[in-house]
Symmetry: C2
């Protein structure tokens, strides 16, 4: 069984990503320890990890809060992710193997099935998408690049917003994945990088479009 600090980390993290713990909510160590059924020690460790993930911020007086992702923060994260995952795609293409290509194509099939439903299967789409991008990052073969991207892929609000994506956005995303797979098959690093970078930036715009259409509370300010 996993360690208490891992369980606390996972529990708090998923509460943040799901929105159960809202932006700006204070994260008291005692209260979280209660919820997770452990002592403060593993909770403290979990909070520090989440802080490194930028899902949690601390004030200058050491109080922890759920990080507040303004629309600018999200744009910033996507811009960085576009650049870094572009690099990952190029490297992956340069060292592509049959096994990895299979993994990528099988992820694409999942996405294709999800997108073609009469009512698109968003959960399936997200699963396939996650697997596709994980495969690319693994194939890039850089622990460091993988670590940097780790803090950029999971963002609160963003995945939940996928449930409001337009069918056009979903179809375009799927065809871009196909195009990427083709570039990988040819070992065309420059092309893979260009497609991937554009793909992430378009994913951001799909998010921003869906986001604008929703009644989103203004992000409240949180101490630096």
């Amino acid at each position: 069984m996993s360690r208490a600090s891992d369980r606390a980390y996972g529990a708090i993290r998923s509460m943040i990503l799901s929105g159960e713990l809202a932006s700006g909510a204070q994260l008291g160590e005692e209260a979280l320890a209660e919820v997770c059924g452990v002592s403060r020690t593993p909770v403290r460790e979990a909070l520090r990890r989440l802080e490194a993930d930028m899902l949690v911020v601390r004030t200058d007086t050491q109080r922890s809060f759920v990080a507040d992702w303004s629309i600018d923060d999200v744009a910033d994260a996507f811009e960085l992710r576009a650049k870094l995952e572009g690099m990952a795609a190029r490297r992956a293409a340069e060292r592509m193997t049959a096994e990895v290509l299979d993994r990528i194509r099988s992820a694409n099939r999942v996405i294709g099935v999800a997108v073609r439903q009469t009512k698109p299967d968003i959960a399936g789409f997200l699963d396939g998408n996650r697997e596709f991008h994980a495969a690319v990052i693994d194939a890039a073969g850089s622990r460091r690049l993988a670590a940097l991207l780790g803090s950029l892929v999971e963002q609160p609000v963003v995945w939940r917003t996928a449930y409001h994506y337009s069918r056009e956005a979903l179809n375009r995303s799927h065809s871009e994945h196909e195009e990427l797979a083709a570039a990988f098959a040819r070992g065309d690093g420059a092309w893979a990088e260009a497609i991937m970078t554009g793909h992430i930036l378009r994913a951001y715009h799909a998010y921003a479009d869906a986001h604008r259409g929703l009644a989103v509370p203004e992000p409240r300010e949180v101490a630096a």
Copy 2:
């Protein structure tokens, strides 16, 4: 006064960067607590932070060791840094202010003085260099980008190797800084990005050249 965990973090970090704690050395919590004059609790926190910085690795059985930076790891880190700091330079150029430009130019003067000594003042060069790059990263105005770059700029071995840089490498580095300042003054983001990316990659080659000339022990293997 700073907190015990901060002192432990700084102490262990500088021991790693200076080489006092060599690659592959085991980092026992008890022993470090003794050295730092604190209990294990803050030491544990420091080790987790250093792990996030990738200066420390942990085995699958939770033992901590000083990370082993092979020449490939260093190349990888520089490649990422070149890309990200290129982004930072572009953003900085786009939002340049008179104050920031002053800060950058004053850092350049420090570099210029250090480089022009009959026997180059490497410590001064490194100080000016650090300040220059810190100013650019600050001016980019992205907390997230700054956080990602944080784990890439300080590398064990690398700075120590600067003491073996050739005069040509130092002069070229200085003139590149001047060229960057000029791009910033013009607000020329694309140019600043191009120069900065090349600048970092050349810094890597200066490192690799100096490194090859030294008697460097083969990196010993360390458990994953």
